[in-house]
C-alpha cells in the first residue's frame, strides 16, 4: 500500500490517492490531500462540501447522492466542479478522507 507524505502528514492511501483509514483524517490531512487535487487553498465553500461529505459518510458508510450534496450545500454541480476540479466523487470525497467509491456508482 503506498504512503502519501506531505509536510508532516504521512498516511496510507490506495493507488489512486484515496485514504485507506478514514478515521485518521483531520483538517491538516485535508489540506495535504487537497494539494493532490490542485486545490491550494481550502475556502469556507470547500469546507462546507468537505464537512458535509465527512459527516454523511461517518453516519451512513457511503458518500451522499450528488443531488443531495447539491441540495444540502446549496451549490450546483458546476460550482462543485469549480471547487474540486476532479468532481464530487474523485475530488471532494478524496479531500474529505473518504475511500474510493465502490459498486455501480
Amino acid at each position: 500500500m503506498p504512503t502519501f507524505t506531505h509536510g508532516e502528514v504521512s498516511i496510507e492511501v490506495d493507488e489512486d490517492g484515496f485514504m485507506q483509514e478514514p478515521e485518521g483524517w483531520n483538517e491538516v490531512v485535508a489540506h495535504a490531500l487537497a494539494s493532490t487535487e490542485g486545490v491550494d487553498d481550502l475556502t469556507d465553500e470547500h469546507w462546507k462540501v468537505v464537512n458535509y461529505l465527512r459527516e454523511y459518510y461517518l453516519q451512513f458508510g457511503v458518500a451522499p447522492m450528488i443531488r443531495k450534496l447539491c441540495k444540502e450545500t446549496g451549490f450546483n454541480l458546476k460550482r462543485i466542479y469549480e471547487l474540486f476540479p476532479s468532481g464530487p466523487a474523485k475530488g471532494a470525497c478524496k479531500v474529505a478522507g473518504l475511500p474510493k467509491p465502490t459498486g455501480c456508482v
Binding site: 500500500m1 503506498p2 490506495d14 493507488e15 489512486d16 453516519q59 451512513f60 458508510g61 457511503v62 458518500a63 447522492m65 450528488i66 443531488r67 443531495k68 454541480l77 474523485k90 474510493k100 467509491p101 465502490t102 459498486g103 455501480c104 456508482v105
Partner: protein, 536 residues
Amino acid sequence: MERPRIASQGDLVRFLDQNEGIDPARLVPLPYPYEDWVDEPIKEITEDQRTRIEVGPDGVCGAQIPVPQSEEEKERLVASFLEGLRKLLTKENNWTFLQPLLLSMENCVKCQTCAEACPIYTGSGHMEMYRPTFRAEVLRKIVDRYIKPGGKLFPKLRGNDIELDWETLVKLAELSYRCTLCRRCAQQCPVGVDNGLLTREIRKLFSQELGIAMPELHQVGTVKQLTVGSSTGLNPAGLMDIMEFAEEDITDKTGLEIKIPFDVEGAEYLVLHNAGEFLSWPENLQAFAIILEAAGISWTLSSELVGYDSVNYGLFYDDIQYSRIALKHYEIAKKLGVKKIMMGECGHAHKATMAVADRLIPDSLRVRAESCLVALEDLVTSDRLRLDPSRNDFPVTLHDPCNITRSMGIIQPQRNILAKIAPRFREMEPHGVDNFCCGGGSGFAVCQSLNFPDWRTRVSGRVKFKQILEAFADSIEPETHKYVCAPCSNCKGQMRDLLTYYDAWERCGIMYGGLVELIVNAMADIPEGFLEWEFH
C-alpha cells in the same frame, strides 16, 4: 503500418513474450465532429506502482495483482493454477460449466470469424492480444502441455512450447480482464465456441484457486455486499435516508405524495434495484415508484442486507460468491412471500437472477423472476398510464445491454415501449442481439482504479461511442438535446464515463439515462420536465 499478426501456432507463444502498448493513433476512427479528435495517452503505471502491482502486457492494470514477495510464492501460485486447472476440467469440481467449457476448448477451428465480431479487438485497431481466440489459445496450450498425458514430449513440434511461469500467468489473468464477456464472438461463431465463457472460466480459476480477482468485483464487490449489504457500502440506515430524500424529491418535482414501500409481505412484486441507482441515478428509482404507483401495482423493496442491492458480481468471476448472493436474493423473496421478483434496470442482475439462478436454485426457494422491461411493456402498451409522447420530442436511441438482449433474448418489449413514448426514436446499427457492448461489461464500468478507466473509454467503449455518434448524425449539433436510453446501471456508468471523456454533452448535446425516466417524462398526469438535462 500493419500490426504484426499471428501466422502460426508458435507465433502465439512468441507473441505472448512481447508486450504491446496501446497506440492511440490506431484506435478505430470516429465520425464527425470527431475526425480530428486526438486521444490523450493512457496513463502509465509508475515504476513505484510496479513494485506493488503486476501490469498487463498492454501496459494496463485491471486485475491489480499484487507482486509476489518471493520466488517461492510465485512457484506456489503456479502450482495452485495447475491444480485449479485440473479441477476446472473435472465434473466433480466444475459441474456448473464443464460441458460448455469443454465444447469451447475442443471445437474451435481457428477460423477467426469471432475476431471481427469483437468490439475490443476491432476498436483497438486489431491488437493481437485482444483477439477473442488469443487467451483461449494460451489456455489450450497450457492444457495440452501440462495436463494432457505426454504433453511435455516434443512441445516445440506440437506447438506447445509455452512456459508456464508466473509471468505467463500474469498475462493470462490480465487478459481475462480485457474482455467484457459480451459474447458477441460466441454468437457469431459457426460452431458455437464461447470465448466469453472461456474467459469467465479463466477468471474463476484465478479467483477460486489463487485469490486473484479485480478488487472492485471481489473485495469491495461481492465480499462487501455480503458483509455490509451492498457493494456500494450502503447500509440500511443510509438506504432509508436515501428513500426519504427520494420521496421529498418526487413531491418537489411532481406534487405526488408517494411512500416508497419496504418489506411488504405478500406484495405482487419485490423490486430488485442495483443500489448504484440509489446513489448515482436516484431519478431511476423515483421513476419506478411513480410508474408502479400510477398503475396501482402492489410492490415492495427489501431493507434486508443484500436484498436492496440486486448486483451479483459473482456472475463475472466466481461461482461460489455468485451462489451466495443468488441464494440470498431468493431467500429474501421467499421470506416476504411476494408473488414475483421484478428485476430493475440492471443487465447482469437480470442474467444472474433470472437466467443462471433459474437453473441452479432448489425448487423450495423458487420465486418467479421477471424483467422490468416485460412488466413495463404491459403497463405502457395496455394504456394503463396516460402518455403524451410529444413530451419526448427529441432524438432518442437505445443501447441494448448484452446480458438482457444477447444472453436472454429480451429485445422487443423495450422497443414497444419506445414506440409509444419516443416519437424521434432511431436504432443504433447493429442492435438487438447483434448490439455492441458499452465497453463496461462484466463489471468493468465499476473499476475506477489506476489506468483502467482510460482503457475503458479509449479502447473497449470506442465502438459504442462511434455507434452513438452515427445514430445521431442527422442532429449532432449541441443545441439539439439527444438521449441514449441505456436500461442498465453498469452500462449507464460506462456511458457517463464515455460521454465525459469525449466531452459529448458539450460538443454534441448527448445525454444518457434509463428507460423509466423517459416513460415518466411522457406521463400526461405528471408536470412537464421530469428529465432535467443536467449531465451527471
